[in-house]
């Protein structure tokens, strides 16, 4: 390659285009990998959903009453205003906080 400013210009232009092309190609690969990974995740999710749906009736409701039985009472209705900070007062029945397993 001749050692001239014209060569420098040509090389710069070529180099810049190749840099964009290579990185754009890598970008396309990234999107392809994302698609593959998402398809795999979706397939996993589908399997998980089936399992959860079959097991859910025995597991989830058993935990929920534990929270509701501890009957949390809010002293006043909560109103939210963007102009002032929200203060919520929570009073536990019998003055006892529910056990940590309920949280």
């Amino acid at each position: 390659m001749p050692d001239t400013i014209g060569s420098a210009l040509w090389l710069s232009l070529t180099d810049m285009l190749v840099v964009f092309a290579v990185l754009a190609f890598l970008m396309a690969i990234c999107y392809a990998m994302r698609f593959c990974d998402r398809s795999k995740s979706d397939a996993d999710c589908a399997v998980d959903t089936k399992v959860t749906a079959s097991e859910a009736p025995q597991q989830v409701p058993a935990a929920v009453p534990a929270v509701t039985e501890q009957a949390v009472a809010v002293s006043q209705p909560v109103s939210v205003s963007s102009a002032s900070p929200v203060v919520v007062t929570i009073t536990w029945q019998n003055g006892n906080r529910p056990a940590s397993k309920a949280s």
Binding site: M1, D15, M27, K40
Partner: protein, 388 residues
């Protein structure tokens, strides 16, 4: 007798060789140390560079331990006789051993997750290489050869190991000034970039809050380094050692099965290599070889390259801000100039000044690591075309 002893001591001690150039460089070294210690400008790099410069400019008598003689480390296949401590350090730089090892450590430290979560970042990393070409054309017009101009331009990639790697192939005689310019400007990123970033964006643009990045799956994280190594290795073999080591480091990290290797690469190995590299680079700043017109040109062109690359990233960021319906903050574009992770930190800092609720660090890491790949690609093309 006494006079001879005094004369002998004066010549042996190096006072005899003290020049105004040494004095200037000692002052420069002290300023760099001040910036590193008092101002906290990337002290990991700047402090050893500054001290290396300090060592190299203590006037040396014959047989000094602190003088780099390039003649001793000219050729791996020829007579290789490093004679002083810093000769050995410099040998590791010049023989292309340290840059790939540093890339191995960078790979092990780098999370490619933000890049994989937002692959458009790769384009920002590409646009932030424009400074390389601007500096290259100006360098050619200033009388440098095409190879030298290309090596000088790579400073704009803000990637020290790549700049050194390219300089050893295209302009070995300019390795010292190029390495110094690259590393010094990398550590001065917090000073150079912010004015350009503010100039090329409005308050509204800088205040843009970006959505949280999606989580990236392990399969993507493992495949990316393998695929990238293959693509770049097959397209641009000259930079395969750099990119290969970068991706090996990342694969060690992401595989999750070699924690000890990954930790070693990300901590002990890169720290040791950084000490050797930085001190050797600093020690190449001795007055005799550094204070000349070519060096001043290279230092000046380094600023142009850096500024050009920052502007290139910002301009594409501005375009993306418009095209995305104000969802991409253009400040992440400036992080496309490699300098991991300093440039990303600068994006975060500038963004938070305009909007304290803005957290751009992870978003900026995408273009930041894309910039590393972009610089390596640009260097690979130059070496392929000019290194014959």
């Amino acid at each position: 007798m006494a006079t001879e002893i005094i004369r002998g001591f004066r010549e042996f001690s190096g006072l005899y060789n003290f020049t105004w150039g040494n004095a200037v460089m000692l002052v420069v070294a002290c300023i760099l140390m001040y910036l590193a210690i008092a101002k906290g400008f990337e002290p990991m790099l700047l402090l050893p560079i500054a001290f290396g410069c300090f060592l190299a400019n203590i006037p040396a008598a014959k047989g000094s331990f602190y003088t780099i003689n390039p003649a001793y480390v000219r050729d791996l296949t020829g007579t290789v006789k490093p004679t002083a401590l810093l000769d050995y350090f410099y040998f590791l730089v010049k023989s292309e051993i340290l840059p790939p090892l540093i890339f191995l450590g960078i790979g092990a430290m780098t999370d490619f997750g933000p890049l994989l979560a937002n692959p458009v970042s790769l384009l920002l990393g590409a646009s932030a290489q424009i400074g390389i070409f601007i500096a290259m054309i100006i360098a050619k017009s200033l009388g440098f050869t095409l190879g030298q101009a290309g090596a000088i331009g790579i400073i704009g990639g803000a990637d020290g190991p790549t700049a050194i790697f390219t300089a050893t192939k295209l302009a070995p005689d300019l390795l010292g000034p190029i390495a110094v310019a690259a590393y010094t400007y990398m550590s001065l990123v917090p000073l150079i970039q912010p004015p350009i970033m503010r100039l090329l964006s409005t308050h509204e643009m800088r205040s843009t809050v970006m959505q949280q990045l999606r989580p990236v799956g392990k399969l993507e994280r493992i495949l990316f380094p393998i695929v990238t190594t293959f693509v770049i290795g097959i397209l641009l073999p000259p930079v395969a050692p750099l990119v290969g080591m970068l991706m090996l480091g990342n694969l060690l990290r992401e595989s999750g099965v070699v924690d000890r290797l990954s930790n070693t690469a990300a901590n002990e190995l890169i720290n040791i290599c950084t000490i050797f590299l930085s001190v050797a680079v600093g020690a190449s700043m001795n007055a005799q070889s550094f204070l000349n017109l070519k060096t001043i040109y290279i230092i000046g062109l380094g600023v142009v390259a850096f500024a050009g690359s920052t502007a290139g990233g910002m301009l594409l960021g501005d375009l993306m801000w418009v095209l995305s319906g104000h969802r991409i903050n253009p400040l992440i574009g400036s992080a496309g100039v490699s300098a991991v992770p300093m440039a990303a930190r600068v994006s975060q800092k500038v963004g938070q000044k305009d909007n304290p609720a803005n957290f751009l660090l992870m978003h900026a890491m995408g273009p930041n690591v894309a910039g590393v790949i972009g610089t390596a690609v640009a260097a690979g093309i130059m070496i392929s075309m000019l290194g014959r």
